[in-house]
């Protein structure tokens, strides 16, 4: 494994790899190695030694760090100023049975966004700028550190979620947000999936800045100690504001039954998909229009044995099913084919992830465009080859 301790070292390693035609697997904390398709690479290039804080200006909500800094170290830094990341990055170690420390580079590379994505945007929305090394070993910048920037094309967004197939991200500029004074979770018990999505939509129609909305059907909610299906809303603000928002929500949702504040904090478990951790089922992540979600899950449940829960007001479905030979890929993809959305296989064995498309297959013109873009950044095809497509 190559572990350069500087951006120049990363660039040199990539230039060497181009010359020797050695495909590289890019990594940092190594917690996401089981996401995407298995990479066939002779060498590993780790960014884990790039851990510097380039700039932190709490008064500007601006943070610039090197890609290998751990989320834990970052949170410590932000805690000291009573600030936080906007997009609540998940920790997939339990889900993926991986070890190591999640890093900011890893979160950006796989576009990992947690429950707050609903309100505060995804990982890509927090990005102000990046430095990266492309597949020719050139150190390049895009974006910057200011809050608004339309100078040139938005390459940071392209890099976010590209799974390291376009470049090695070395430095990341992020918008951060202040922590709120009060966080409360409201729960409604006993709704079926369709009622739950209707309740979450009802909540999200009120101007209460609900920062997360999830629904756990009974088979899943019991993992978090609930006795029945539970629909959860996270309300934030200063003390009086949060109290007022709760009354607004209770009134708006009265038709769905009693809306009560709970003491426990279920959001880290929802963020990290803990309910599906520790077993050997395949796990899918489906991004759909919220009102399509219950029907999609119901249709799948008539065909395969599966369990699901909903985040992002119903727009994100986590689904666990028997892995079998293909993680039920044809059935899942067929079910989603008639609606807007996409499905990503988030957990399966290497064999299955090599055998079926992990990411939603793209229409021909889009797939061709994506390939052309990849060739413009990594003409030799040495960065994480095969990670996104075969």
């Amino acid at each position: 494994m190559l572990t350069p301790d500087s951006e120049a070292g990363v660039a040199a390693a990539i230039r060497d790899a181009v010359v020797s035609k050695t495909p590289l697997e890019l990594t940092a904390g190594g917690t996401h190695r089981a996401l995407g398709r298995p990479v066939q690479a002779a060498q590993t290039l780790s960014l884990s030694e790039l851990t510097g804080v380039t700039l932190y200006e709490p008064g500007e909500l601006t943070l610039v760090v090197q890609a290998g800094i751990t989320i834990a170290a970052l949170n410590k830094l932000l805690d000291a100023e009573n600030q936080q990341l906007t997009f609540e990055p998940p920790d997939y170690r339990a889900l993926l049975s991986s070890t190591g420390e999640p890093t900011i580079g890893g979160a950006i590379a796989v576009a990992a966004s947690g429950p707050r994505r609903l309100r505060a945007g995804a990982a890509r929305d927090a990005l102000l700028g990046i430095r990266y090394v492309n597949g020719q070993g050139e150190v390049l910048r895009s974006g910057g550190r200011v809050m608004k920037n339309v100078t040139g094309y938005d390459l940071p967004k392209l890099m976010c979620g590209a799974y390291g197939t376009l470049g090695a991200i070395t430095e990341i500029g992020l918008k951060v947000i202040p922590k709120v004074e009060v966080v409360r979770t409201l729960a409604i018990l006993g709704l079926d999936d369709a009622q739950a999505v209707a309740a979450m939509s009802g909540a999200l129609k009120t101007p209460t800045d609900v920062s997360a909305a999830a629904h756990l059907p009974q088979s899943v909610s019991k993992e978090l100690g609930f006795t029945d299906a539970v629909t959860l809303l996270r309300v934030e603000g200063f003390e009086t504001q949060a109290a007022y928002r709760i009354t607004v929500l209770q009134e708006a949702l009265s038709e769905f039954g009693s809306v009560e504040t709970i003491e426990s904090d279920p959001w880290p478990a929802i963020r990290d998909v803990m309910m599906f951790a520790g077993d050997d089922r395949a796990v899918w992540r489906l991004s759909v229009k919220p009102t399509d979600a219950p029907g999609l899950v119901a249709a799948l449940q008539t065909q395969i044995e599966c369990e699901a829960f909903y985040d992002w007001g119903g727009g994100l479905i986590w689904l666990a099913c028997d892995e079998g030979a293909d993680a039920q890929e044809p059935i899942v993809r067929d079910a989603i084919s008639n609606i807007d959305g996409h499905a990503t296989l988030m957990r399966a064995s290497d064999t299955v992830r090599a055998a079926v498309p992990v990411f939603q297959p793209e229409p021909k013109p889009i797939a061709a465009l994506s390939e052309r873009i990849r060739a413009e950044f990594d003409p030799a095809g040495i960065l994480n080859p095969g990670r996104m497509r075969g």
Binding site: E60, T151, C160, P178, T206, Q241, Y244, K289, W312, H342
Partner: protein, 479 residues
């Protein structure tokens, strides 16, 4: 002066034939080829640069757009997409051999879905019309460029437009969920949709802000948000720009999340007050207008907290709006500022961004440079995100004054880059800042961006002569 590339005479020679082919796709009157009608498309809001296009087409459907793209490609005619022509950066300035593709007839709302909080529109619709169509349902579309009455969603997507309220709600890219787009080969594709995350590479994020150079976006799915119960501003006056700048940082850091935080300097205050009689104090150097949202109680508590945060900076004026009439009055001066300055002189509106910690030093350096060029500059801008809008006043009929204004503008933008900021926060590069791109990026960085353009549009047919320095475009690798 900003140069435009030499038109291709061989393309212009095919003008009549291309017009005839386009008339087979579109009704006669939707293909414009008379000199007097073409004149209406010779410029956008950067009206010191004018060039009538070869032809203008005004399609009604995406399928027509696809056919137009194919016909123009065969004729070798570049296409300049145009929403409402409100770009301040020359983003829709034609070349003499180009076909302007105007989206003005494609302005329908296709679907309103409040359960899923999205609206699907054709991209010729104006920004304000989007919100107007959903206000009765209690929703709005957040990005609010100051040209929102006129500007088209298509232009907003091209430039990734912002607005006063993006401090809380983000800019266009944060509120765009999907597009239908015609690619360079005439293929119609859909990217994203009513769901939150698209799969694969984030092409949607790339298309937003690509200045119409990747394809013609004909439909957009936009995120909509519930309207706040109410909103009220508070106005602060300060004795120096420096202290006002510090107060901005303090408000942001305190996490009070105002929806808007606007800054006006002395020249802007004076002009606006004379024009709008908003009751602004004339004995201060800087004004901040800070607006918060919520119920009456929430607003009161937030304003009280903001007052407390600002108090240590000893504002010489504090005016807290108690009702809608007072709110309108506080906003009247800010909203009238551009118009008021426009009555006094011609102006160039810049759009650089700087880190908040550099606000004060950039403002004093701006004043120094203005004096050097013997020009007046007023500053009215979105302070919360460091997005400056210096208005350089000049005399358009005097070539010397116009030249000086452009030079001062370039100096001010270089200053923003030196201070770790950027050339443009929400207007886009267009032709205006094209030649300055090498102050912010090195050539290799720009060539990597140009390579992305190659991937979308190998022939460089969409919106020519924008974004990149002309010399780099002309010497680009053969695709």
């Amino acid at each position: 002066m900003i140069e435009m590339p030499k038109p291709d005479e061989s393309v212009i020679a095919k003008r009549a034939a291309l017009a005839a082919q386009l008339r087979a796709v579109l009704p006669n009157e939707q293909v414009i080829d008379t000199a007097e009608e073409l004149k209406a498309y010779e410029c956008d809001a950067l009206n010191s640069y004018r060039q009538p296009p070869m032809l203008v087409v005004l399609p009604d459907t995406t399928e027509q757009v696809a056919k137009i793209v194919k016909l123009c490609a065969s004729a070798g005619a570049p296409i300049v997409p145009r929403g409402s022509g409100t770009s301040l950066a020359g983003g829709s300035l034609p070349t003499a051999d180009a076909v302007v593709l105007g989206l003005s007839r494609m302005n329908d709302v296709l679907e309103v879905d409040t359960e899923n909080r999205v609206i699907r529109v054709e991209t010729g619709i104006t920004n304000l019309a989007v919100s107007a169509n959903i206000a009765h349902e209690g929703f709005f579309y957040a990005p609010d460029p100051s040209s929102q009455l006129a500007c088209a969603i298509g232009g907003n997507i091209a430039m990734n437009s912002g607005g006063a309220h993006c401090l809380k709600y983000g800019v266009t890219t944060n509120n765009l969920l999907g597009v239908k787009m015609v690619m360079a080969d005439g293929e119609i594709v859909e990217i994203g949709g009513a769901h939150l995350d698209a799969g694969g590479y984030d092409l949607l994020g790339l298309i937003c802000g690509s200045e119409g150079q990747f394809g013609i976006v004909t439909e957009a799915t936009l995120k909509i948000l519930p309207l706040a119960e109410g909103a009220r501003p508070i106005l602060f006056g300060f004795d120096t720009n420096e202290v006002a700048g510090e107060a901005v940082a303090a408000i942001i850091k305190a996490g009070l999340s105002p929806v808007a935080l606007e800054f006006m300097d002395k020249p802007a205050i004076t002009v606006s007050e004379n024009f709008a009689k908003a009751g602004y104090p004339l004995d201060v150097e800087a004004l901040l207008i800070c607006e918060v949202e919520g119920s009456e109680e929430e607003i009161d508590e937030q304003l009280t907290r903001i007052e407390a945060v600002v108090a240590p900076f000893k504002p010489s004026t504090v005016k807290r709006s108690a009702n809608d009439i007072e709110s309108a009055k506080i906003w009247a001066g800010r909203k009238a500022a551009f118009g008021a300055i426009g009555q006094l002189a011609d102006y160039i509106c810049l759009d650089g961004c700087v880190p908040l910690s550099e606000l004060a030093s950039v403002l004093s350096e701006t004043a120094r440079l203005a004096e050097k060029y013997d020009l007046k500059v007023a500053n009215v801008f979105h302070a919360g995100d460091g997005n400056l809008h210096p208005l350089i006043m000049y005399e358009a009929n005097d070539p010397n004054s116009a030249r000086k204004a452009e030079e001062l503008g370039a100096d001010l933008l270089r200053l923003c880059v030196e201070k770790d900021g950027c050339l443009t926060g929400e207007h886009g590069v267009g032709i205006e800042k094209r030649e300055l791109m090498l102050t912010q990026f090195n050539e290799r960085e720009l060539r990597q961006q140009m390579a992305v353009k190659d991937a979308f549009d190998a022939g460089w047919m969409f919106n020519p002569a924008k974004v990149f320095p002309l010399e780099l475009i002309e010497t680009r690798d053969a695709a």
